[in-house]
């Protein structure tokens, strides 16, 4: 009896009003942030005629996927009219190896810096960290020269190379901070058991690393997929990533501006990163905090 009484007491009218007020404010913010997506989605499903005559926030009177089809395979980027499709695949074959290579190298780097301390390990680590904070604009020219010397200027391998180099600072940081929390005695035990450098990495550290691998993949994939600056600087006609193509589609319309196609193209370009967040988002949060909570 007393329990219930206390319980209801704690939920006095004032508390309830506050609670609902909070929900209301949160709801309003959510709506506010969803607004652009809503406009993009509805606009992409309208015909040009309807966009011209209707209101911006109105639902489409007649749903048509024509704009999506055009954005995917018919929209013009400059003189070519193949839509986003070829560039989307460019981004895919660029992002997957770039993410994989930078994650693997970052894991190895972090493993060495955290668990196989050599003389100057901390110095090397701070140099790598420094790499995280160099603005990309600064390195454009030297990198262009470098790619030219290596003979991979304007190619997808060239872009992969650039993204691996600039991802390494972050991936190393992630893995190093994760591996630093793993007791050094584990490595010692494995050494006494007879395992070597790679065996310990493969059999003991990698199986422990799932959360941080997910974090790194999300981070790197988002960075590389969404990158525009390197994409526009170090690519040529056939090798441009989807972000550059999206820019070209939006900027190269002649006559009528096809808002519906632009919106559909923008959503297509953003879809993979959204997907990665939805699929792996919970691991992302878990991974970011894993090192700190683990006893």
């Amino acid at each position: 009896m007393t329990d219930t009484a206390l319980h209801t007491n704690s939920r006095s009218p004032g508390v309830i009003v506050l609670r609902w007020g909070l929900f209301l404010i949160l709801g309003l913010f959510a709506l506010f942030y969803l607004m652009p997506l809503f406009v993009m989605l509805t606009t992409s499903l309208k015909s040009l005629e309807e966009i011209r005559t209707g209101s911006l926030v109105a639902l489409p009177r007649e749903v048509t996927f024509e704009a999506w089809r055009t954005a995917w395979s018919g929209a013009c980027t400059g003189i070519q009219c193949e839509g986003l499709r070829p560039y989307f695949w460019n981004s895919v074959i660029l992002a997957i190896p770039a993410v994989a290579i930078s994650t693997i190298l970052g894991a190895m780097n972090g493993y060495v810096i955290a668990q196989w301390k050599f003389k100057g390990a901390n110095f090397v680590f701070s140099l790598l960290l420094f790499g995280c904070f160099i603005p990309f604009q600064v390195v454009l020219l030297p990198m262009a020269r470098m790619l030219g010397l290596l003979g991979i200027a304007g190619t997808i391998p060239g872009l992969i190379f650039v993204h691996v180099i600039y991802g390494l600072g972050f991936t190393t940081l992630f893995f190093r901070n994760y591996y630093v929390t793993i007791p050094a005695e584990l490595v010692k035990a494995a050494k006494v058991d007879g395992a070597g450098f790679f065996r310990i990495f493969w059999s003991i550290f990698l199986p422990l690393s799932l959360p941080i691998i997910v974090v790194t993949i999300i981070w790197q994939f988002t960075q590389i997929w969404n990158d525009f600056l390197f994409g526009v600087s170090f690519s040529q006609a056939g090798t441009q990533p989807v972000t550059v193509a999206l820019n070209n589609i939006v900027n190269s319309t002649t006559g009528v501006k096809e808002y519906n196609v632009d919106m559909a193209a923008a959503i297509i370009a953003a879809l993979p990163t959204l997907l990665v967040y939805v699929v792996a988002g919970k691991y992302f949060i878990r991974g970011l905090t894993a090192g700190s909570v683990k006893g």
């Binding site: 007791p183 005695e185 010692k188 035990a189 050494k191 006494v192 058991d193 007879g194």
Partner: protein, 365 residues
């Protein structure tokens, strides 16, 4: 027989800091060597040097008659149990135990057979498929031992293996390690800061302080004839009473004079020694001070002391008095009539006393 572990003139420094200085230790097969000392004395570093996990600055280490100074840990024929157990968290108990054999390419049949033997020996058969995270501290401890046992090495190394267990479990596991040592006849090197562990387990103790060996000897040597004040104070609980005293030559030995707060000087007559300096520190174990009338012998001498404090510890009662400016603890029987604030006649057994030089701390007799 050649010593199974032979450490000669070992030095270890990090930069300019010397961690270990001129360590010389040799043990025979079947020995149980305990490295004991306060934290930071270098005992764990020494163990890591023996394992090959830390390079040494100079000197040599031989295991099983072979020079291992520059050999990597995996080829030293050793197994090690760590303080944190260091079990591989993503592997099952069985995989943890067989990992070393797997890495070394031992065939599956032998792996299974050895796993079975060790699991049976340590009574861990029931949870071979669990992960270390699902085990209790004591169970993890057993798995860590299993991982070492299965390798059948020349030398077992233990790095404070019991310090993460609760008091009751620690005593149990201590007994179990002792039994294991006895049954296997294995050679073991064991690091601990717990002097009771050292006393109960060891056949040979090395007491370390500040990277320097203070004394090497059997538990009874270390306990009864500590080489210096540090060892005397460190080994034994409650600690040895170390009382400043003055000596005088007497026809048949020496007179030991101890000041007493608010009373006349206590004079004890030691017949066994004639060559003590004027100022000494006399070391008496608490159990060598009894209540008058309960201890007899020609070296037992009685003196009246003022009791400051009485501590009942079940089987014994500790009585604290104040002599020579120090607290002096006597271990009396449980039903003593001692009361705080009252005088009590105590019997000092001089047959086992130690004398130390106050300036160097070295043993004199």
């Amino acid at each position: 027989m050649a010593p199974i572990l032979d450490i000669k003139n070992l030095y270890k420094s990090y930069g300019t800091v010397e961690i270990l200085k001129d360590i010389n230790v040799a043990i025979e097969p079947g020995d149980f060597l305990v490295l004991v000392g306060p934290s930071g004395c270098g005992k764990s570093t020494l163990l890591n040097c023996i394992a090959g996990l830390e390079p040494i600055t100079s000197g040599s280490i031989a295991i099983g008659g072979k020079d291992m100074t520059h050999v990597s840990p995996k080829d030293r024929d050793i197994a090690m149990v760590f303080q944190s157990y260091a079990l591989y968290p993503t592997m099952s108990v069985a995989k943890n135990i067989t990992f070393g054999m797997k890495v070394r390419g031992v065939d599956q049949e032998t792996q299974d057979r050895k796993l079975k033997e060790v699991a049976h020996q340590l009574q861990i058969t029931d949870y071979l498929n669990r992960r270390p995270g699902q085990l209790s501290g004591g169970q993890r401890q057993r798995v860590a031992m299993g991982r070492a046992l299965v390798r059948d090495p020349k030398l077992f190394l233990f790095d404070e293996p019991l310090s993460n267990l609760d008091a009751k479990l620690r005593v149990e596991m201590r007994a179990e390690i002792k039994k294991l040592h006895h049954n296997l006849g294995a050679t073991m090197v064991y690091v601990t800061h717990d002097q009771i562990e050292a006393m109960t387990l060891a056949t040979k103790i090395v007491v370390l302080k500040g990277g320097i060996v203070q004394q090497i000897g059997s538990p009874s040597e270390i306990y009864n004839r500590p080489a210096n004040l540090f060892v005397a104070d460190f080994m034994g609980s409650p600690a040895m009473n170390l009382i400043p005293a003055k000596t005088k030559r007497n026809g048949t030995g020496m007179l030991i004079e101890i000041e007493r707060a608010g009373g006349e000087i206590i004079t004890l007559h030691d017949h066994h020694t004639e060559s003590l300096p004027e100022n000494v520190i006399i070391g008496v174990r608490p159990e060598d001070i009894a209540e008058a009338g309960f201890r007899a012998g020609e070296d037992v001498q009685e003196a009246e002391c003022l009791v400051d404090m009485v501590e009942h510890a079940g089987a014994d009662t500790y009585v604290v008095s104040h002599l020579g400016g120090r607290n002096v603890t006597a271990r009396l029987h449980a039903e003593t009539s001692a009361h705080p604030g009252e005088a009590l006649k105590l019997a000092f057994d001089l047959s086992k006393v130690s004398y130390f030089a106050p300036d160097t701390g070295e043993r004199l007799n």
